[in-house]
């Protein structure tokens, strides 16, 4: 793979990754900005509209028709959060020209489509086209309503909101339903204009052959924008609550969900990740072997470390009558790590699993982008090999210290309505 990163303007990076084994190209344009309740919904809608129409393909129908003609090419919007930041943007993927049956210039067409989505959206009198905006707004509101359809995901969202209450990290990637409802096409376009000026922008292109068209086009168009990028801090340790807070909600469901949140003041992200793997990320982890296999309490019981927030979550699906038992076992297994009861097999197995994962960065175009975008977001550039070596350097003592730093902060319980025994 040939990796090249260049600066296209103030706070605008462009990374090209050329890998001849691929049959397709993928492009991602990220806007990194701080999570703010006042702007989150408008930022989301403002970039969401970019993917459904532009001035040349002014309706979703026209855009869809063109993309389908280009062998099922796709253009989509990005909206997520990471730590205290909101990440927005546009992604696109398309078949490499070599596979076009009638010799079409798919890449050339995609350059101009993506260009127009970003720099010539369908706007009239300072507002997005009302039809495109209405469609994106309805879609987002429907997505918000549908969050509760996925019970595990919903429970984790509620646990995150409880854990980070009052911090930017608690703000959803869409802000709030109320903010979305009150947004207008004019405000959304203004929010996008502001992102073009102030967000940190990072662009990635993965293709089988070198293609300078995108970099040239972006450089030219961004040159016309007066950039004043703002620094974004995504990393801040979430403060530990004075007392463990438990939030319980009852629903008419079959299986209860329990999410435990721990906080840490440790900055040792590699040791914390090792603790998480050993505790509950893999089928030989302590939670799998004990909560699931030994006690048969759960189908899933897993952990994850969110080091940029100094947070650590464990979540499981469990019978209401077994919640306390499951919680006690989760805490007991964490205690084992704190006592240093970590076997060589657990350490080696975790390292092997990490090696397996990082070695496959580059097997799909998206995996390259995800890897380097994460480096950018966290402002810490390293290769997959260097990343793995940092894990290899984690001693058992560091793992024990990291585990000891974890303090229970809050618990979210999604309960069913059966009477507790």
């Amino acid at each position: 793979m040939i990796y090249k990163r260049s600066e296209l303007g103030k706070g605008i990076g462009f990374t090209s990754m050329v890998d001849s084994k691929f049959k397709s190209c993928v492009l991602a344009v990220y806007f990194l900005t701080e999570s703010d309740e006042k702007t989150a919904a408008l930022n989301n809608l403002g970039t969401g509209v970019l993917a459904v129409s532009n001035s040349r393909y002014p309706t979703y129908a026209a855009m869809s028709e063109k993309l389908s003609e280009l062998y099922g090419a796709s253009v989509g919007s990005i909206a997520k959060k990471k730590g205290d930041a909101q990440i927005l943007g546009l992604s696109a993927s398309w078949l490499d020209d070599k596979y076009a049956i009638d010799g079409e210039d798919i890449s050339g067409e995609m350059v101009s489509i993506v260009h127009d989505c970003l720099f010539a959206p369908n706007v009239r009198d300072g507002a997005y086209d009302s039809e495109s905006f209405a469609m994106v707004k309805k879609d987002l509101l429907d997505n918000i309503n549908a969050e509760f359809n996925q019970k595990r995901g919903y429970a984790i969202t509620r646990a995150v909101q409880t854990a980070y209450r009052g911090e930017p990290a608690a703000i959803m990637e869409y802000g709030s339903k109320e903010a979305v409802l009150s947004s207008t096409a004019e405000e959304a376009f203004a929010a996008y204009q502001e992102l073009l000026k102030t967000a940190k922008i990072e662009i990635y292109l993965v293709s089988p052959d070198e293609d300078n068209k995108f970099a040239d086009m972006f450089r030219e168009s961004f040159a016309e924008i007066e950039r004043a990028p703002k620094e974004v801090s995504i990393r801040s340790h979430s403060p530990l609550k004075a007392e463990v807070e438990t939030v319980s909600e009852e629903y008419d469901i079959n299986q209860c969900k329990a999410v435990l949140n721990f906080k840490t003041d440790s900055d040792d992200r590699y040791a914390l990740k090792m603790v998480s793997i050993i505790l509950g990320e893999l089928p030989f982890s302590k939670l799998f072997l004990n909560v699931r296999e030994k006690l048969s309490l759960c189908y899933y019981c897993t952990s994850r470390s969110i080091s940029i927030k100094g947070a650590f979550f464990v979540d499981c699906g469990v019978e209401r009558k077994n919640i306390e038992k499951a919680k006690a076992e989760i805490l007991a297994q964490l205690e084992e790590i704190k006592k240093g009861n970590i076997s060589d097999m657990e350490i080696q197995g975790s390292l092997m699993a990490l090696d397996n994962a990082v070695s496959q960065v580059g097997d799909t175009p998206t995996s390259y982008i995800t890897w380097y975008a994460d480096c950018f977001f966290e402002n810490d550039y390293y290769t997959p090999e260097e990343h793995f070596n940092r894990f290899r350097g984690v001693t058992k003592e560091r793992m024990v210290e990291a585990a000891k730093s974890l303090k229970l902060d809050s618990i979210y319980l999604m309960l069913n309505k059966e009477v507790q025994e």
Partner: protein
């Protein structure tokens, strides 16, 4: 002696190796230069629908409890000496398994030690170890899995639709069974199912990525235990062409109402089925295409949103085309779909639109060949469907408007259509 052939896509130039191994196993191998990962799938034609079966040696059919194929999959991960995950932990592979309606697959994904991982995979799948204790222990775990899926509205709306569509075919039963049905499973029954379906003549190994075909075959020679073909016969109760009921609704604690709108079509097999799948896929693309008037209007009227989708779902004895998504008034979607199918049959399909959606389907198929996991799945599914891995690309390129109209006229009948809805509680 084993038979070896190279299968090639005339369109993309991609190729893979197919071997009929002397043990009885079909093996598909795709060496993918430049990729780091390896994906291996060891699968059997045994899923939740195989509830009634016999071998040539049996005088009567055996009927087994619902969910037993999935239960067996869970239990195969335990060896007599240790768990399989412990073995994979030593090599770094990510091991997993899944059971669907018509197959059970055991898989690993790795970037190193694929030879060792392949040995683990071939060994444990051929070495069952079921005891009363380890069967009893699994009840609680699978019970929780069943409860979890019962809270999944997409799962419920889909099975409600299947129950309204199929009178007798076991496709309507939940893959994991019920808490009551799995309580009837014991070690003896598991061995009976294992001995019947985990016969190499009924199985496939599909492996793709950073591998050497010669090395894979060398390991297969060493690890595969030859099996006699037992003359397995899996039977399904007679299934009428008609549906059970046209509409089913259930209230659930959901944030957004969802629906499945499915057409009961005639089941097929082999190349015939692949042709029908290609035709159905084009119908699916046309009817969910935002560039075409029906979808454009439904979007504008806010009847559908971007979740509106359509897929072809098929297997032994069942074949359906299912529209799905979030919608407050799914009956309006049913009306629109009925009318659009009638219009297309009466007026024909615009040739330009037809070529466009075909090109789109081709582009998506070729892009799948970019991916180690997708290639391994493609080869496995080809075996399960008794076709060649690249047949779908060539059949799609030969498909005509007439084929698609024929499919719509013969298969998409209003009286064979089921609407299933999960509604928000008041």
């Amino acid at each position: 002696m084993m038979k070896k052939e190279i299968l090639t896509s005339a369109r993309t130039g991609d190729s893979c190796i197919h071997v009929k191994h002397s043990s009885g196993l079909d093996i598909y191998i795709c060496e993918m230069n430049g990729f780091s990962g390896v994906e291996a799938l060891f699968g059997t034609k045994y899923g939740s629908v195989n509830t009634m079966f016999k071998t040539a040696a049996d005088s009567d059919y055996t009927v087994v409890p619902e969910g037993i194929a999935h239960f067996l999959e869970h239990k195969l991960f335990e060896n007599e000496d240790c768990g399989v995950f412990e073995l994979y932990a030593k090599t770094g592979a990510s091991g997993n398994a899944y059971t669907s309606f018509d197959k059970t697959c055991y898989l690993f994904n790795c970037s190193r030690n694929y030879e060792e991982n392949l040995k683990i995979l071939l060994d444990f799948v051929q070495k069952p170890y079921f005891t009363k204790e380890n069967v009893d222990k699994e009840m609680g775990i699978i019970g929780q899995e069943i409860k979890m899926t019962n809270d999944n509205p997409e799962w419920r709306v889909f099975f409600n639709m299947l129950r309204a569509m199929y009178h007798a075919h076991p496709v309507k039963i939940d893959i994991a069974g019920t808490v009551e049905s799995i309580a009837k499973i014991d070690a003896d029954l598991l061995y009976k199912c294992y001995d019947t379906f985990y016969n190499l003549n009924n199985m496939v190994l599909s492996i793709a990525g950073n591998i050497s075909a010669d090395k894979v075959l060398e390991i297969c020679d060493e690890y595969l235990k030859p099996c006699a073909d037992k003359g397995l016969e899996s039977v399904f109760p007679p299934e009428p062409d008609e549906i059970v009921e046209a509409e089913t609704r259930e209230k659930q604690p959901v944030g957004a109402s969802i629906f499945n709108l499915g057409y009961k079509c005639a089941p097929r097999s082999g190349i015939d089925r692949l042709k029908a799948v290609s035709a159905a896929s084009i119908v699916s693309s046309l009817l969910t295409d935002p560039a075409l008037p029906m979808c454009e209007r439904l979007l504008k009227d806010e009847v559908i949103n971007s979740t509106f989708n359509c897929e072809v779902f098929y297997g032994d004895g069942y074949f359906t085309l299912i529209f799905s998504g979030e919608a407050e008034k799914p009956e309006l979607i049913r009306e629109a779909v009925f009318a659009e199918i009638d219009r297309l049959i009466a007026e024909g399909i615009n040739e330009k639109d037809f070529q466009r959606v075909k090109k789109s389907a081709y582009g998506i198929m070729v892009r799948e060949l970019n991916n180690v996991e997708a290639v391994a799945s493609l080869m496995l599914n080809a075996y399960m469907e008794n076709v060649s891995p690249y047949d779908s690309i060539s059949i799609m390129s030969e498909l005509t408007c007439g084929d698609v109209i024929d499919f719509m006229r013969s298969q998409l009948r209003r009286d064979r259509c089921v609407l299933s809805v999960i509604e928000t509680e008041d």
